[in-house]
Amino acid sequence: MEELGNLFHGFAVALQPFNIGVMLLGIVLGVLIGVLPGLGGANGVAILLPLTFSMSPTSAIIMLSCIYWGALFGGAITSILFNIPGEPWSVATTFDGHPMAQQGRAGEALTAAFTSSFVGALFAVIMITLVAPLVARFALKFGPAEQFSVYFLAFCSFVGMSKEPPFKTIAAMFIGFALAAVGLDQVTGQLRLTFGSETLLTGFDFLIAVIGLFGIGEILLSIEEGLQFKGGKAGINAKVVWQTWKELPRYWMTSLRSCIIGCWMGISPAGATPASFMSYGIAKRASKNGKNFGKGEIEGVVAPETAAHAAGTAALLPMLSLGVPGSPTAAVLLGGLLIWGLQPGPLLFVEQKEFVWGLIASMYLGNIFGLLVVLTCVPLFAAILRIPFAIIAPVILVICAIGAYTVHNSTFDVVMMLVFGVMGYVLKKCNYPLAPMVLAIVLGDKAEVNFRQSLLASQGSLDIFWSNGLVGSIMALGLLALFWPMISTGWSKLRMRPAV
């Protein structure tokens, strides 16, 4: 058990006093980010990324991933108390969580949500511990063609699984690829798509895009909806927690099912949001209290929260072992890796053992700390939500601007942030998904380089993507994911047709 030894070494790294400090700081910042409108996991991490430039990569990733866990926890607070999902994956939590709060059972709902989140995350971390090294060892054999096929699979599943119209997903994704291509060509060193402009020489930074699209765009959406917080009281004490904990084991089946759904959806880049909905829907169908769902059923909180947290955590598996992030936040973390001078992908497990296992160990510890922090500090975080929007909105704008500026110390980036923000607002309202665009900006260069290297090897023939069983089957999976909606409707039509 070489992995077990590595994991223990990882715990030793994560338990250094400085790292525990950044872990706690990350969790608190993350919950704040999850609670505040306009700040979410992805752009919260993007804004705080420049603060980590002076840290060691291990401490930096521990802090940023803890912000991510915190944001996952924080989303549940706003959903249950205020019926406002702080994050898209918390939408399903509002269905039963908020009715519970209205019935005066907010403490119960919050305890159930936090505990389920913790269970989901723990399941996914154990899965990562066991599976990631194997996947990485396997992926070490990948050449450019195989690597490209993995990207191909990731992007195809986005198109096939998103609830937005497929051609809007494709348009959004390829806009991301085009933005990634601006500037210096990585293979030939030639300039392209700069049109003589000096500011475009360095291309578009995905961090700016994330802060604009998710941060500013989200504020504009909130302003338009006319935010008003009318919240339930956040009464949570040891007695409520204890009683809820005694009740929760009854739903072990729902939990287990949601964990599996979450892990599966998190690894494929469909992400936490569909996982939470799917898990809620299946729990509703499977539970004997199914008809009470939506009226304040505790099982209706357990199911989406477990799945969302499992998916959010599992999204780090492909990021660590393949260099393909499973969610926008994972994409930002991957960008961080590049900035700290690490090469994401299977080699991390060989060359950066301390980093990888420190991160994995911090996932265990971070989630334990996270559970403790949210259980004890809920009233504090709820109070922050009661700060009026007229105060919080400009403060968030200023924070976003600082975040955008510090990426390259350039005021032009702040302008770009606003442009991306308005763009994000309009695109979101027109039903264009933003996550694939961000992922494409992050992965564009790498996908392109692998694609071109494969073509170089094959003298320009696309046959290289079918040249062996491995690359061929990943490509086939990709095509299957791409056309999945058509295949499944075709299949159900075929079954519905009466026998002639």
């Binding site: 291509a181 909806e225 702040v414």
Partner: protein, 167 residues
Amino acid sequence: MSDNAHGAGAGPSHRAVETGVAIAIAIFAAVVIGGSIQAGIGWGVEGPKAGFFPFYVGLAILGSSVVNLVNVRAEVAPEKVFADWGQLRQVLAVVIPTAVYVAVMPWVGIYISSAVLIAFFMKRLGNYGWPLIASIAIGIPLVTFVVFERWFLVPLPKGPVEYWLGF
């Protein structure tokens, strides 16, 4: 832009905005394709030239935005509004001051401009009293200064006032 009978308030039609977005994306695609052709889309000594990949990316954007353009009529109900004028006014009330904020930042620095932005929002959206406005509008930039310039040693843009103060 017809009045909405369902009482949701008048505003630009959703169809018009969707059409505009699809056309804007198509224009973006054309720019990408043009730029790629400039960089060379063929096969050179070093393999595919720099414009090879973005050229096909541009084609894909163009193709999908044409499909989206055609789909607008089928997907969006004619009476649906993008957002009513009141809502859009709210959005612009955030975008325009932020644009001014971003535009003046290189000259006056981030601290003064942030203080003015926060004060402006608090007065305009919340109509708070000046003592509260002053404490938050000055407090937030001060905290930022301590956290970034002192703790994390990340310099932020400064203007004449900060230089005059000796930073």
